[in-house]
Amino acid sequence: MSGDTASTAPADAAYVQATLRGDLRAFEALVERHRDVVVRVAARIAGRDEAEDVSQDAFLRAFHRLGRYRADASFRAWLLQITHNAAVDHISRRRPEPVETPEAPEDPERTVARLPAERLESRERLARLERKLRGLSPDARVVLVLRDIEGLSYEEIADITQAPLGTVKVRLFRARRDLIEMLRRNTYDWELPE
């Protein structure tokens, strides 16, 4: 799920140096290299509708702080730390989301793509799951997204969230438990064994 950054780290460091010398094409290359993971993480923490704004905010924050990036560290982890902070700031500024109303069916106008029924059902199931994820607390959601969806290591998650390793593991355990409970309470059948 997550590509290791070891092979891309030297190139990232070179792009950072070039950006600091004023080369904005180098910054554009950095954005292109990491936009997918940033948008994915932003979408899963803050929601799909907000993902682009949060991602842009994260890249711009990174741009202004590039001078603080240490070349011996993973650029992706550093950038995801900024993305995490931007997403959490975004959530905290926003009104709390109602937990049950998102269960309403999707706007038919948006699903008119005339997809095969099976694909439509699968898409709707994933959209429901994403909404359920957003029912978790931000701390729990972040570790679950980074570990179980993005496949990052515990150490990387500890760096990104600036939490001790033990805290990350406890949050992950609780996040999985809480999500299972939420899905079990849901009227939709998630086929979760007792």
Binding site: M1, L24, F27, E28, V31, E32, R35, D36, V39, R40, A43, R44, R48, A51, E52, S55, Q56, F59, L60, F63, H64, S122, R123, R125, L126, L129, E130, L133, L144, R147, D148, I149, E150, G151, Y154, R176, L179, I180, L183, R184, W190, E191, L192, P193, E194
Partner: protein
């Protein structure tokens, strides 16, 4: 989604893993012009931030100098 859990995974956790794996396989997309937009905003912000920082530093230096000069004069009396 490999894990270093010492305890065996429960059937419910296994099912949750399957569901999350489906979610992981489905990637949200972004505007194709995303990078260009970010760079455009970065260029604009840099054009504003750099002069502002220069002006701020200048104002701070002048303020410190004025404070120093008046402080010294007051000390002379």
């Amino acid at each position: 989604m490999s894990d270093d859990r010492s305890e065996p995974i429960t059937p419910a956790e296994q099912r949750l893993e399957e569901l999350l794996a489906q979610l992981a396989a489905e990637h949200p997309t972004s505007d194709p012009a995303f990078a260009a937009t970010v760079v455009q905003r970065a260029r604009f912000q840099r054009a504003i931030v750099t002069p502002l920082r220069t002006v701020g530093t200048l104002v701070l230096s002048v303020g410190e100098s004025v404070w120093l000069i008046f402080g010294l004069r007051r000390g002379d009396r």
